[in-house]
């Protein structure tokens, strides 16, 4: 009989992109939105942006 190797009871850490990069993961779309938040949109922003009063 071979030696039985006990598995560690601790759970392995997830290898999600969030953990790999150590920061908030952004989609290309979010990067574009955040860029526009940083710079402000081009042109004037009307107060009414969607919907019909």
């Amino acid at each position: 009989m071979g030696k039985v190797i006990k598995k560690s009871p601790t759970r392995k850490r997830s290898s999600t992109p969030e953990r790999k990069q150590g920061a908030v993961v952004l989609t290309a779309s979010e990067r574009r939105i955040l860029q526009l938040i940083a710079t402000g949109i081009e042109g004037e922003e009307p107060s009414l942006l969607a919907g019909s009063p």
Binding site: L34, I37, E45, L49
Partner: protein, 181 residues
């Protein structure tokens, strides 16, 4: 009751979407500060529900386009909808209401309005801040598209800056982004 469970679940999703958007703006602020001094202070931006405090602040707006107090009724009849108040510190700068369709494949921005007739610290940033939150919510509930309902003609070019386009049915839409690892 299943409906109650659904309401509670979506309440958590809304809260999560606002929190995630707050984390992303905080990260942006941090990155901007690493580059150098900046006038922009996103640490004062808050994403909240349209609650009594927001409606009290909205009552002080001059000539708003919408009666936002109607949202109180909509929130109870549309449990999957997202309501959003965009604050800069103690100043209410924007309000938004978005509602997914029955299949949740598409979430529609029904109303979006920035503080009218006054300069405010988030001018030119209300649309991107609102879309950031709506996109978080869309991803959480599994929507594939965000649609802008009845965009003002002058506002269409703003949405196009985010990648919105007119689909075959002339709806102003944007695909919800997937993660880039």
């Amino acid at each position: 009751m299943p409906r109650e469970r659904t309401c509670l679940r979506y309440q958590l999703y809304r809260s999560r979407a606002r929190t995630l958007a707050g984390l992303k703006t905080a990260q942006l602020q941090h990155e901007l500060e690493l580059v150098g001094p900046t006038d922009l202070d996103l640490s004062k931006v808050r994403f909240e529900a349209i609650n009594a405090q927001a409606l009290k602040a909205w009552e002080l707006w001059q000539d708003p386009h919408f009666a936002w107090n109607e949202v109180v009724g909509w929130k109870s009849s549309e449990p999957l909808a997202l309501d959003l108040a965009i604050w800069f510190d103690e100043r209410l700068c924007g309000l938004c209401f978005a509602n997914p369709n029955n299949s949740r494949q598409r979430i529609r921005i029904v109303r979006l309005e920035g503080l009218p007739r006054e300069a405010h610290p988030l001018k030119k940033r209300i649309a991107p801040l609102a879309i950031l939150v709506v996109e978080q919510y869309a991803k959480i509930i599994g929507s594939k598209f965000i649609e802008v309902q009845e965009p003002l003609k002058g506002a269409i070019s703003i949405y196009q800056q985010f990648g919105f386009y007119f689909d075959a049915e002339r709806r102003l839409v944007k695909a919800v982004g997937s993660l880039v690892s």
